[in-house]
Point group: C2
Chain length 261, copies 2
Amino acid sequence: MTVVRAALFQGPAQPGSIASNLNAIGRAAHSAAAAGADILVTPELSSTGYNVGQRMIEFAQPSTGETCRRVCEMAREHGIAIGCGYPESDAGAVFNSTMIAGADGHSLAHYRKTHLYGDYERSVFAPGQDLVAQFDFHGVRCGVITCYDVEFPETVRAHADAGTQWLLVPTGLMRPFEHVALHIVPARAYESQLFITYVNRCGSEHGLEFCGLSCAIAPDGGELVRAGAHEDLLIADIDTTVLDRSRAVNTHLSDRRRDLY
Amino acid sequence: MTVVRAALFQGPAQPGSIASNLNAIGRAAHSAAAAGADILVTPELSSTGYNVGQRMIEFAQPSTGETCRRVCEMAREHGIAIGCGYPESDAGAVFNSTMIAGADGHSLAHYRKTHLYGDYERSVFAPGQDLVAQFDFHGVRCGVITCYDVEFPETVRAHADAGTQWLLVPTGLMRPFEHVALHIVPARAYESQLFITYVNRCGSEHGLEFCGLSCAIAPDGGELVRAGAHEDLLIADIDTTVLDRSRAVNTHLSDRRRDLY
């Protein structure tokens, strides 16, 4: 039996105030560690906020830059892994990236969003070219995708086929797309038989209203925990015995008619 | 603008009483026609009931047999297309089939369930080998799948790519799988941008409790109509202008990263 305790930080961001946002993540890491969590997951682009226009390009840093270094320091300081979103610069391009810092202060995983959403994202980001980013964490095979990625069943299928047991999904879901958090995410967990933590922001950023509703969904489609519209720190246990029991009953992965697709 | 009015018959079946079940479908066809519906959709295996054990094999008929002939007669009599599920015998095998009879009494479409569910179905049925069955109906491109098929996103993607605008899904969903009707079906409509009518039975059959919750879901994921746990005849309008508007905003089909799947 392997159990990982996850903390999901649903917070508002100060658009463009990186120091302020990282401080809020540090406070959440402190609270999450005090609650016994092994890892803190934060929303998409949690270091910068989402709706900062073309300034996103100025905020971009390399994966060896100040933001990632600070997140690694906070992870070591609080003794908890931290997932943080940031705009990543590399070879003249900017990516919508998520880095996972281990509790020892070293990087565990890194992912560049592959499915960009809408005109704004396409105007500042280049799409990632690697669909599946994974890391092993206390005996659980974890994967990372970002926001709009989860709306494509192919993404989650690729993770299930690559052995992902728990999929971390930092997101920035806005009104009126609540049905993504309420229906799509539970459907993904069930149809591909894995845990999903969907970690959204709340509050508004220059006219965009984020809808919260962060959640942890079990492989049987059941809600382990669900936030409302406001700031929250959710705790959920990711238990591989629950996964094994669900996969024994819900045989979707082996029931696929791959000969017909 | 093209609008088709659909009637969804959520009724209990008398397991093994084909005449009684067809009579109930005839009464529903009369009511549906009176409500201005162009087509009546009934649950999976609506002619025989679902939980009849190995007798399902005895009940099997060819597609030219008495059940299909009777459904075609009722369709012509009431001036409404009818979708009816039945066990089909062909070349020594039995299939879990759905036939669509046109209002003129001729067959519009025929489909054999490709994803069989559980030990019981696999003990009596052979799986269909054609994933996509379609028909044109008053200017709407329609598709037919059955129950467990819809739990596989690949099935609905194949329909979207083949041009299906409205997917008819006769089903036999039992407790405690309500989340399929409540989450999976809306997710499918949204992610593949088409209408779905999910038509379930209600009542119990030899210990299996069917959960109702039949629904019509719009391509934006919204519920057009939703039944409770009891017998009902739902009416929903399938409007291609709604589909066009949704696809203009929800660009999932063109946003796929097919280069990465």
